[in-house]
């Protein structure tokens, strides 16, 4: 694994970007193999990954260096890569191979770790969860594969020299966790406010380098990825039932009691 050392180095940051179906449109699973029909809806950058990109750009502004986008996904994922470059990332790596179709979260983390193994980086930034599969485990699994410290649910990141300090948001406040670079950081939306792509950057985006990798290029073992080799299996799926009509409680002096009874009946209280 090529990790850059030395002081004071410019930071090489890799941001993981997943293309997901637009949450505004209806998502469909394909009936043949129970994977997401990614062609059926418009792809967008996973929302939390926009925060990851923003954080990488802010860190670059502060410490210098380069921001590289790493995406694993089909051809359409180029739209999301272009958008990440339009926000200001310097270059991108796109892992795209038919053999990756249907990979589960562990396999995704494995494949991403292989691609990262070919790259020089000080920091990997990713969203803490995707909006489609929502397993929230890629960051952790990736850190294991890379044998690097993981700092999860970051609401604030500070770097001094090779030391990284993160406010890890919890239900009751935050923990402060520290590690040495290189490290893997997953972010939550409290961390920043993602910028809009600027027109100048949009127009520069198509001139920025995008490296395309097959599994052979990235030395990903074909026997460890893809639907057939997945460690998890989607057994069945059903469309979400339409929402049942709500209950309207009319306050005739006993509104409070009725609401309390309702909550008790549904075991909310």
């Amino acid at each position: 694994m090529g990790v850059q050392g030395g002081w004071p180095p410019a930071m090489n940051i890799v941001v993981l970007v997943k293309q997901v179906p637009d949450t505004a449109t209806e998502r469909k699973l394909s009936s043949d193999d129970k994977t997401l029909d990614r062609a059926a809806s418009d792809g967008v950058i996973n929302e939390l990954d926009e925060y990851a990109i923003e954080e990488a750009l802010l860190l670059r502004e502060k410490h210098g260096g380069e921001v590289t986008v790493l995406t694993m996904g089909p051809d359409q994922a180029t739209d999301s890569i272009r958008k990440a470059l339009s926000m200001g990332a310097d270059k991108a790596v796109h892992v795209n191979d038919e053999a990756l179709h249907g990979s589960d979260a562990l396999q995704t983390a494995y494949a991403l770790s292989r691609a990262l193994g070919r790259m020089e980086f000080d920091l990997v930034v990713l969203g803490s969860e995707s909006t489609d599969a929502r397993t929230g485990v890629v960051g952790a699994a990736l850190a294991e594969y890379l044998e690097l410290p993981q700092l999860t649910l970051a609401g604030k990141v500070d770097i001094e020299g090779r030391a990284i300090k993160v406010q890890r948001l919890t239900d009751y406040g935050y923990d402060v966790v520290e590690a040495q670079l290189p490290a893997v950081v997953s972010v939550v939306e409290k961390i920043n406010e993602p910028r809009y792509p600027s027109f100048k950057l949009i127009m520069q985006a198509k001139k920025k380098p995008v490296e395309k990798l097959t599994i052979a290029d990235a030395e990903i073992d074909a026997a460890k990825v893809g639907l057939a080799n997945a460690t998890t299996e989607t057994v069945d799926f059903a469309p979400a039932p339409p929402r049942a009509a709500g209950t309207i409680v009319k306050d005739e002096g006993d509104g409070g009691t009725k609401v309390a009874d309702f909550l008790a009946e549904k075991k909310f209280v």
Binding site: Y196, P197, F199, K200, I202, M203, A205
Partner: protein, 396 residues
Amino acid sequence: MSDPRKAAAPDPDDFLDVDGSLSAEERDIRDTVRGFAARELLPDVADWFDAGTIPEPRALAKSFGDLGVFGMHLDGYGCAGASAVAYGLACRELEAVDSGLRSFVSVQGSLAMTAIHKFGSEEQKNAWLPRMAAGELIGCFGLTEPDSGSDPGSMRTRARRDGSDWVLDGTKMWITNGSIADVAVVWATTEEGIRGFVVPTDAPGFSANTVHGKLSLRASVTSELVLDGVRLPADALLPGSSGLGSPLSCLNEARYGIVWGAVGAARACYRAALDYAATREQFGRPIAGFQLTQRKLADMVVDVNQAALTALQLGRLKDAGRCHHTQVSFGKFACVAAAQRVAREARSIHGANGITLEYPVLRHMLNLETVATYEGTEEIHALSLGHAVTGISAFR
């Protein structure tokens, strides 16, 4: 030939798939402006319209500047250098929110910045354009006067030489962003004909008064400019400007953006009407199910899409360097009238709700009265088209 029965059903929001021919870059610019407009402008615009002003114009200018929309179609000096189509798309998406917000961008980029970009010296361009592109400085464009609207050649504002200085006297009227501007591009008659001047608004003798009581373009500042012996150094003159053709060529740029903007306003009204008609029930069914409503919706979808095609075609011509100013007149004449028809039908579909600020339709309908008036009234563009096809001028 492919089987037409297998073609996908058209998207009601882009029935003729006009946007299908956009490049990836054009789509990215469209999506960026659409996202920005939805998050930063749409939630507040009805309040601004209600208040009859933009409460924080500097913050708005800064966010437009960060986006890169000011002078985005100009090259160099901090401008993005985007295509005409990309600029049009930005205007369309902004005006889908409100004509006043698109006007802000038109006046800054296509009028004030374009005048400096086209006719300014290298020093003037470096002094003003980068900061105007960034939204740090706000510009306005003073051509119209109280007694000189469709016939700007009759203007009374004068600039006379005094030693190496220029001294300007006169009144400009209906000037968008006049009272919030840092710099005014002012057109005045001189001994050598009409020339343009770059006037810092803190120059002694310059004042601006906001026009109140507007019932249209309320989310926009409109002002009177008073020039009372405003003394300017020699380098305030835009050296490349000469004659009425100079300001008219700037107007032609802004007008091109208006063609697209009108499409945005029309689309927003049509979309609102479609939503409303689908959910509003009378006589036991959605009003979208009544034939008379469907006729309105059919007229609207035709108007919106024809206007969109016209705008895109003008953009393609412009990017190829082949767009004649009478073709822009065609666009303004056709697309603004189409938008007015759509807004009116949309308002009627909304019933009583349609007259409130809760829904965008009357706001757009009122705005479009301004859009039909400025940058050449409907009548003036009809005359321009008449002249183009007959060779006979009927202006005077």
